[in-house]
Structure formats: structure tokens, C-alpha cells
């Protein structure tokens, strides 16, 4: 399959639904080891994304991803805003002028996005940030040559859950040191929602 503009629009709708539904949950995760705003930030940002992209027409995936990126950048704030903003910006750049995205292109876009996140946040895998989900997913994606919505979702979920046992080394949770162990990383959970939404899109379109 190929991801086109409609797929990405659908992806964002689904991601927004999940985030709105889990706004309080995400916030409570951030209260435990951060400052209690992650759900609020993500809900505000994705609501704005939906507002923005549903009011425009897109002829290619790159322009759509760029608008998503810019909206996240200017509406989420905090640490997650620049990170998700950068991720979608890098995807947009990697898919310049593509009106749809095949599997290798998608993997390439994910690779660029991850590089962007890591550069912006200076985090590595294993530091209990959303990098853990993105990098684990990318590793899994590279092992295959086409979309596998089930494995994709499972991998994201496992990666998200694996953050529970980690000690945070980046972001606010890092100030808690060993007290951060035993709690899920909020950004990894929101990343999981984003990717499980994408998995649903893929599943439904096969």
C-alpha cells in the first residue's frame, strides 16, 4: 500500500481522538514524573492540527505534513512541541513533492524524523523519552519490506511499556532520578497513540 493525503488526514483524526480521550491519563502520567501538562499540551496541539488541516486542501503529503508540523510547533509548547514539530517537519522534507508514500519512502521519512528528534532533544534510546518508541519502531520497520500494521502497533506498544522500568536521563523526569523508575514516560505514551492510529489507518485500508 501507499499512504496518500487521505490516509494522513485519517491518521491525524484518529490520533487526535485517542489523545483527546486520553488527555487526563497523559496528564496524570506527567504529574507523576513531570509537570502535569503533557495531556493538555498534546490535546491543545492536535485539536489545532485538525482545525488547520480540515480547513485546507492538500495536493501532496509533504504540504500536509508541513502544516501539521507548523501547527504542532506553534501550539503544543513545552518539550513535546518542538520534538513532534521537528519530527513532522523532517517527514515533510523527506517526502518533498510526494503525493503518496510507499513503504521505503515511509521508512526513510521515519528515519529522518527520528534524526530530527534526536538532534533537537539530544536524547538517545534508553533515556526514557519518546525516542524509545520512535527508534524501536524504526528498527522494526527496517526489518521488513512492507507495512505490517499488527507488528507495528505491537512494537510501539512494547516500546512504550518498556519505558516504565527505565530511569529517566532526559526531560523533566530526569530530576527524579531513580524515583522516575516504575512510571511510563508520557511522551512515549502519546507517541504510541500516534503510531497505533497510523496502524489503524493501514489496517483499514488493506
Amino acid at each position: 500500500m501507499k499512504l496518500d493525503v487521505a490516509h494522513i488526514l485519517d491518521w491525524m483524526e484518529k490520533a487526535n481522538d485517542k489523545i483527546q480521550q486520553n488527555k487526563t491519563y497523559l496528564t496524570s502520567l506527567d504529574q507523576a514524573i513531570g509537570d502535569g501538562d503533557h495531556g493538555i499540551n498534546m490535546a491543545r496541539g492536535f485539536q489545532e492540527v485538525i482545525g488547520k488541516i480540515s480547513a485546507s486542501d492538500y495536493s501532496n503529503v509533504s504540504d500536509l505534513l508541513k502544516d501539521i508540523s507548523m501547527t504542532l510547533l506553534s501550539k503544543v509548547g513545552g518539550a513535546s512541541g518542538p520534538l513532534y514539530g521537528t519530527a513532522f517537519l523532517k517527514m515533510s522534507m523527506a517526502l518533498k513533492d510526494s503525493d503518496s508514500v510507499d513503504y521505503p519512502q515511509f521508512v526513510h521519512a521515519m528515519e529522518e524524523a527520528l534524526q530530527g528528534i534526536k538532534q533537537r532533544g539530544k536524547a538517545e534510546k534508553g533515556e526514557k523519552t519518546l525516542v524509545d518508541v520512535w527508534e524501536t519502531l524504526l528498527e522494526q520497520l527496517k526489518e521488513q519490506d512492507d507495512f505490517d500494521s499488527v507488528r507495528f502497533e505491537e512494537t510501539a506498544k512494547l516500546a512504550m511499556e518498556s519505558t516504565k522500568e527505565l530511569e529517566a536521563k532526559k526531560g523533566r523526569a530526569a530530576y527524579l532520578r531513580e524515583r522516575s523508575i516504575g512510571h511510563l514516560d508520557p511522551g512515549s505514551v502519546s507517541s504510541y497513540y500516534i503510531f497505533s492510529s497510523l496502524s489503524d489507518v493501514v489496517k483499514e485500508s488493506v
Binding site: I33, D35, L73, G77, S80, P82, Y175, L176
Partner: protein, 331 residues
């Protein structure tokens, strides 16, 4: 949650309007933004100074906008760094060719958003430099790559960089004195109660009736250590000793002291803490050049306080004493 607000989602907007309504001759809000700038910004031939961060730290940061201190403060949502586009608006509004210094508190979010704004500004040919305040000595682990947080010491950085810029110093000079201030300022805080982010509606952590949290940040996040509540004197000693040790302060040196309330603590208690801080410093032969007791960098309605010491030399003393017309720091 009991708060005097209209709607959690409009709290920051309402606050900014109310702030400008209070000081209409001194500050302006850049239309359509969350930026509060000096009414006369950009000031000719002066380095602009921009700071900001999440809201909920009032009077920081807008209260420090004024002649002799900040040129603009950029407000984010409560405890959430402002976004790059907003910071960029702040930078543009205060630059008049002499360049702009960004005073950033060391949080991943603040750093990333301000850095992206700086990139945008540089792309438009504005000369931007930045300093990162990391005065919180609560986390001292050297393996700790994220680095220390920026808390109340930031106010001294605003004051001193602002005074230097007001003297007509160059961007490099203003940055250098801000760096020097950062090198010489340390803080640590403690709390008796958590606070409630309006949009969350619930406290971020719970403390028992006999518990306090040492090494608290200013975003309602838990602290470094939870223990049984003790006397004001013991709290003052614990906080002050940590700060003295961190700065390596010795007998004969001179400092400015800040005993900062986190929002919900009566001023009476801050003065009680100051009594002991003062005694301890005097006992160690450290000279107190000036003292600031009050609410400078808060965390909504959190009950608690922080102690900040700034090591002073002649240059810093002169800059600390210089006139400031910022509403929350009149000198």
C-alpha cells in the same frame, strides 16, 4: 480546585490582559501574541533582552519587563514553554540592530523552543545570543546530563543583564555579564504543598500533613527528597548550606540573598527563614550586600520557599544597584 479564574483555557490570556491593564504606560502586549514588551520597544542603540517560559511563575516573567531589566517576556501556557513563533515575535519586537540576548531557564522545553526561535531570528539577520540559567543545586549528580534547572536565580540574571544593556554595552558584553552572574548564583527550594495546574484540575503530587519536599522545582514537579517537616531554622540551614557549598563561598566574600516565596507562603514565614539565612551567613563571615524577600519566581499557589545566593564583585554590585522600573523589581 479553587481558583479565581474564568476558564483554565483563557487564564494566561486573561492574565496578560490584566497585566497590561495594570501598567499601560510601561508595557504593551504584542497583538495576537503572548509577548509583553516595554512600551517603548525597541529601544534605540540598546541590546534587547528577552526571557520567558511557562506561566504560573508570576511575577516572572512579565513583571521584570521595564527600563533596566527585560525588554520582552514571552509567556507560555501554565508550566509549558512558549512556542518558537511567540519567542520569535518577542525577539523581533525588541531588536533595533544592537542584537538580542535570550535568558533561558534550563529546561529541555525552554531550550528547544528558544533555540528554534533564535534560528528563525538569525535567518532574518538578527544577532541573537543566549544564556542558560541553571542555578538549582538540588540535583548535583555529575552523571546527570540534562543539567540543573533554572529557578529563582534567573531574576538576578535579568536584573544584571538588564542593567548592563541599559548602560549601552554590546551584545557580547551583556552576554558575558549574564554568564558571570550564572556562574555565581545558586538556589534551592522546598515545598509544603503541591500546586494545581488550572487545566489539569488536580495537584501534581500529594504531601502528607507532616511532610515536606526538598529540592522542589517551580513547575509543580516532585522534588528530590521527601522528609518530615522541620523548623524554619533547620530548613533555612539545610537550603543555605547546600547553596554555600555549591558556590564554594568563603569568609570575606559578599553576596546578595533572595528568600523567594513559591506563591502560597505567607510573607511572615519568608522573613522567619531570612532571619536564619542571615545569621548563618554572618556566622560564616560572608557579607550580605543586599537582601530580597518576597515572591519573585513562584509556582502558582505552592507553599514553600527557595533560597538564592549571588556572589558579588564590584561590577555585579553596581549593576544590581542600578535603576530598574520593572513593576516587580523597582530599584
Amino acid at each position: 480546585m479553587k481558583k479565581i479564574i474564568n476558564d483554565p483555557n483563557s487564564a494566561v490570556q486573561d492574565m496578560l490582559d490584566g497585566f497590561v491593564a495594570a501598567y499601560p504606560n510601561d508595557v504593551k502586549r504584542l497583538p495576537g501574541t503572548t509577548v509583553i514588551a516595554r512600551k517603548d520597544a525597541p529601544v534605540t542603540n540598546k541590546v534587547g533582552i528577552v526571557s520567558g517560559g511557562g506561566s504560573g511563575h508570576e511575577p516572572a516573567h512579565a513583571g521584570y519587563v521595564g527600563e533596566g531589566m527585560l525588554d520582552a517576556a514571552v509567556a507560555g501556557e501554565v508550566f509549558t514553554s512558549p512556542t518558537p513563533d511567540q519567542v520569535f515575535e518577542g525577539i523581533k519586537a525588541v531588536d533595533n540592530g544592537a542584537g538580542v540576548l535570550l535568558v533561558i531557564k534550563n529546561y529541555t522545553g525552554d531550550i528547544m523552543n528558544f533555540e528554534m526561535a533564535a534560528e528563525l531570528a538569525e535567518a532574518e539577520g538578527i544577532n541573537v545570543k543566549q544564556v542558560v540559567v541553571n542555578d538549582d543545586v538540588a540535583v548535583e549528580d555529575s552523571s546527570f546530563t540534562t543539567g540543573r534547572r533554572g529557578i529563582a536565580g534567573t531574576v538576578f540574571v535579568h536584573k544584571i543583564a538588564g542593567a548592563k544593556a541599559a548602560q549601552g554595552a554590546s551584545l557580547e558584553e551583556v552576554q558575558a555579564v549574564a554568564e558571570k552572574t550564572i556562574q555565581n548564583v545558586s538556589s534551592i527550594g522546598m515545598a509544603l504543598t503541591p500546586c494545581i495546574v488550572p487545566a489539569a484540575g488536580t495537584p501534581s503530587f500529594e504531601l502528607k500533613e507532616n511532610e515536606m519536599e526538598i529540592g522542589i522545582g517551580i513547575h509543580g514537579e516532585p522534588g528530590i527528597e521527601r522528609k518530615e517537616i522541620t523548623t524554619a531554622d533547620e530548613i533555612a540551614v539545610e537550603l543555605t548550606e547546600k547553596v554555600i557549598a555549591d558556590l564554594g563561598l568563603k569568609s570575606g566574600e559578599e553576596v546578595a540573598v533572595m528568600v523567594n516565596g513559591l506563591g502560597g507562603t505567607p510573607e511572615m514565614e519568608l522573613f522567619i527563614v531570612n532571619k536564619k539565612v542571615n545569621q548563618l551567613l554572618s556566622d560564616k563571615g560572608i557579607t550580605i550586600y543586599d537582601t530580597f524577600v518576597g515572591e519573585y519566581m513562584t509556582s502558582l499557589e505552592m507553599a514553600g520557599c527557595s533560597v538564592t545566593l549571588l556572589r558579588l564583585d564590584q561590577e555585579l554590585k553596581t549593576l544590581l544597584d542600578a535603576e530598574s522600573k520593572a513593576p516587580a523589581f523597582r530599584r
